[in-house]
């Protein structure tokens, strides 16, 4: 059963001579509980796919279905209860003047939860931060701690599908290891589905079951991790990418 099905997705920005077709005819599906990776160079449209799914890139055509229900131009409230996103840069994705408590509390409030207090505590525990971080502001947190807050915020509405846009590329390797372990644990505990964008093939190889290789807005190849490890890519570009990352 597929959690997310994307069929012939096109996304574009601008118009006339400055029109850029960021994604061209992308087709893939992500199974329930699967972890699916999107890799490719910058500008290849991998983040744009995530943005189109959540509605942050309004100019798109094609068909997307979430859990069997088609995604329209206007997304209902339930959509955001099912899908949440973690952004690349924890320095830019948290409000600098909102404390961790406000960030999480507001999200919970918007999603109509009543027991906000207990949920905030629980969320902080789940991402390994604990109570003492509850009333801190982003500038009092390290990069890894901020990314944990961003993950907690994404988990607040109890989503089934998490879109991860380069969740560790702004972090140190030692902190990256912690965050990747956290994401793996959360997925095990909650049966989450991940759609993860990364330019680091070894990170995707560690986290994902299958991956799609993108180039110039097109998906050139979909392969599973066993094939990736065995260096069994068929498309020339994926081969280059594999060689470059070893």
């Amino acid at each position: 059963m597929s959690m997310l099905d994307v069929n012939g997705l096109n996304v574009w920005f601008g118009k006339n001579r400055d029109r850029v077709d960021a994604v061209k005819g992308a087709t893939f599906d992500v199974g329930q509980g699967e972890s699916f990776g999107l890799v490719g160079e910058s500008g290849s449209g991998k983040s744009t796919i995530l943005r189109a799914i959540t509605g942050l890139a309004p100019n798109w055509s094609g068909a997307m279905t979430l859990d069997g229900k088609p995604i329209g131009k206007k997304r209902p409230k339930e959509f955001f209860k099912t899908v949440q996103m973690v952004f690349q840069d924890p320095y830019a994705s948290l409000h600098p003047r909102h404390s961790v408590d406000q960030v999480l509390g507001e999200t919970l409030h918007l999603h109509g939860f009543k027991d906000i207090d207990t949920r905030v505590v629980k969320l902080l525990d789940d991402v390994g931060l604990g109570q003492k971080f509850r009333f801190r502001y982003p500038h009092q947190l390290s990069g890894g701690q901020r990314q944990r807050v961003a993950i907690a915020r994404a988990l607040a509405p109890e989503p089934e599908l998490l879109l991860l846009d380069e969740p560790t590329s702004a972090l140190d390797v030692s902190v990256q290891a912690e965050i990747l372990n956290l994401l793996a644990d959360l997925r095990n505990d909650r049966g989450l589905t991940y759609l993860m964008v990364s330019h680091d093939l070894s990170v995707v190889g560690h986290m994902c079951d299958r991956l799609a290789v993108m180039k110039d807005g097109e998906i050139v190849e979909i392969l599973d991790v066993a094939a990736l490890r065995a260096m069994n890519a068929t498309h020339t570009y994926s081969k280059q990418l594999l060689e470059a990352s070893l």
Binding site: D18, V39, G40, E41, S42, G43, S142, G143, S169, D172, V173, S174, V175, Q176, A177, E178, L180, N181, A184, H199, D200, L201, S202, V203, G205, H206, L228, R229, Q240, L241, A244, S245, L246
Partner: protein, 286 residues
């Protein structure tokens, strides 16, 4: 023996805070020849501060102290602010970490590169335009003409970083300090950008200080590596021998990387030993 371009002795960078003085860099010494010198460490280890201190880019209340920072015999610590401006860009150039904060958001990319070129060379606008186009193509930006017309927010992070590199290389400096120049780029482009920098170091006899947290990249690309931890150099080694590094901190960093050829269920998490920050700084002089 390589000629020494830059000689840094006993460099300290301090920031007075409400809770006393914070030492960001604590007595670091190293030399740079016509080589590629890597500085690795986590964020907060003082590697970027070292790079900035060389260019005297640390503003008050930050304090920079050093026995000497000499560029081919000339002590940069003794130069006036005006003379320092002639050093920055022209003789030592720096590619910063984040293109979002380093490019002017209200100026087209073309205008910014042309400005960088014309500040240091007397060239006509048309020449500067052509030279800028050439440089953008050299950092493998497709449709450079559209990019020249565009504003920084229209570029992806990777493109922004390549534009920065183009802009910093256009005055043809003697030393390039690259602060995480490729951390926003993906592996395939990373290689291209590094190849461009490599070519310049070789062809023009430039010295390169390559600041990065990516151990594999540094092992692959540099000649010599300094490993920094909490403001001090904990280990110096040849880049090709980085994987045989002895210091537990370096080993811990190496082990926390996910690897394609050796899959694991869980990644190793670095355990820090307070002794690491107490040990005296190792000298990185040749």
């Amino acid at each position: 023996m390589m000629s020494t371009l830059l000689d840094v002795q006993n460099l300290w960078v301090r920031f007075p805070t409400r809770n006393g003085v914070f030492d960001a860099v604590r007595g670091v010494s190293f030399t740079l020849g016509r080589e590629r010198l890597g500085i690795v460490g986590e964020s907060g280890s003082g590697k970027s501060m070292t790079g900035r201190a060389i260019l005297r880019l640390i503003r008050p209340p930050g304090i920079v102290e050093a026995d000497q920072i000499s560029l081919e015999g000339q002590d940069l610590m003794k130069l006036s602010e005006k003379d320092m401006r002639a050093v920055r860009g022209q003789r030592i150039s720096m590619v910063m970490q984040d293109p979002k904060f380093s490019l002017n958001p209200v100026m087209t990319i073309g205008d910014q590169i042309i400005e960088a070129y014309r500040l240091h060379n007397s060239a006509s606008k048309a020449d500067a335009y052509n030279k800028s186009l050439e440089m953008l193509e050299a950092v493998s930006i497709r449709d450079a003409e559209r990019v020249m017309r565009a504003y920084p927010h229209e570029m992806s992070g990777g493109m922004g970083q390549r534009i920065m590199i183009a802009m910093m290389l256009i005055p043809n400096p003697e030393i390039l300090i690259a602060d995480e120049p490729t951390s926003a780029l993906d592996v395939s482009v990373q290689r291209q950008v590094l190849d461009i920098m490599d070519k310049l170091v070789k062809e023009r006899g430039m010295g390169l200080i390559f600041i990065s947290h990516d151990l594999n990249l540094v092992a692959d690309f540099c000649d010599r590596v300094l490993i920094m931890y909490s403001g001090r150099i904990v280990e110096v080694c040849d880049a090709d021998k980085l994987h045989e590094a002895k210091h537990p901190y370096t080993r811990g960093l190496l082990n926390s990387l996910p690897r394609l050829d050796a899959p694991r269920d869980r990644l190793e998490v670095l355990e820090r030993d307070p002794e690491w920050s107490e040990a005296p700084s190792v000298s990185g002089s040749e």
